[in-house]
């Protein structure tokens, strides 16, 4: 059980961040990541058209479960979108994404030299993300 990949896409659907979170996760090329992100964005738009009202869980695709992994998405009202893939039966993914959003708000958005909607290349954000992932993994594996 564990996290695999984290993706952040901006409101236009471009991938602005991706990170392999575990040694055990399958190796994806940068191209695969771009591909996956835009496919997911397209699916998300489609689903949101089919079901325009938010439910208690959120809006559009929130969780996607396949035979080999789960995907959890979180989309704050501003349109930026976070999604994480993880091994089956990994828990608390929604809470993890909300924590990711908090550090995104702190270390990406508040960095005056970060250009909005551009790929995220911010060391502090990566450091805090790593810390968050470690904390999460420890909690899951206890």
């Amino acid at each position: 059980m564990g996290l695999q990949y984290l993706f952040v896409i901006n409101k236009a659907g471009s991938l602005i961040f991706d990170r392999r979170l575990s040694e055990n996760a399958p190796q994806l090329s940068p191209n695969d990541c771009l591909h996956l992100a835009s496919t997911f964005h397209g699916m998300q738009l489609l689903v949101q058209q089919l079901s325009p009202e938010p439910s208690d869980h959120g809006f559009g695709i929130v969780t996607l479960e396949t035979e080999s992994y789960v995907l959890q998405a979180y989309r704050p009202e501003t349109g930026v979108q976070f999604f994480v893939t993880a091994d089956l039966k990994t828990e608390n993914l929604a809470a993890f994404l909300r924590d990711v959003y908090v550090i995104y708000a702190d270390y990406v958005m508040k960095n005056p030299f970060y250009e909005l909607d551009m790929p995220i290349k911010v060391d502090r954000w990566e450091a805090h993300l790593k810390r968050l992932v470690d904390k999460y993994n420890n909690r899951v594996n206890v």
Binding site: L45, P76, E77, G79, R98, Y101, V102, L116
Partner: protein, 186 residues
């Protein structure tokens, strides 16, 4: 009602956030406004710059607000107004505002607040009576709401520094932008 009042939500968010000294904020802001007054000849331009700076802050700060206030999506503009007054003002300025003076079409309202931490030590000099000293706040509100697909106009109409009895920001909704811009299919 089982849901906590916005006042409570605001206080909880305020308690959770890291804080800086109000004096540091007031003095930094004061220096900043002075520098703008030196850089621009017309006070009107300074007002516009403060608004533009605020807008840039707003589009970033809104993420912080959503991430940390744990507030649910607003279902009406009136709800949005209350959230700004009770939660956002409390969270970022430590004060709460009152929402009043709704227009007949429910698209324009006023935010009234007595305490303004930005202007705590300020007196307007005689040569710039037209300065809206805290105009940055208008920009912040405008920028933040723009990220949430609401196009609003935001202006100061009363300011204690000018001798008015309270501070008043008038916010009016111009249009609700479409949730997602339609994208070309190819």
């Amino acid at each position: 009602m089982s849901r906590p009042s916005l006042q409570t939500v605001g206080e909880a968010a305020f308690a959770r956030c890291d804080r800086v000294s109000a004096e540091l904020l007031a003095l930094t802001y004061g220096t900043f406004v002075r520098q703008l007054l030196l850089d621009y000849e017309k006070v009107a331009d300074v007002n516009a710059q403060l608004d533009a700076v605020g807008c840039n802050i707003g589009v970033r700060l809104v993420e912080d607000f959503l991430a940390k206030s744990k507030i649910a999506a607003c279902n009406s503009f009136a709800h949005t107004a209350d959230v700004i007054a009770k939660v956002a003002f409390k969270m970022f300025l430590g004060v709460t505002a009152n929402v009043t003076s709704w227009s007949a079409d429910r698209n324009t309202f006023s935010l009234l607040f007595d305490d303004n931490p930005l202007a705590e030590f300020t007196e307007l000099p005689e040569q710039c009576p037209d300065l809206w000293y805290s105009n940055v706040l208008c920009g912040v509100i405008r920028g933040a709401l723009e990220m949430l697909n609401m196009k609003v106009g935001c202006t100061f109409v009363r300011c204690k520094l000018r001798g008015h009895d309270t501070n008043e920001i008038r916010v009016s909704l111009h249009e609700l932008l479409a949730e997602q811009p339609p994208q070309a299919d190819d």
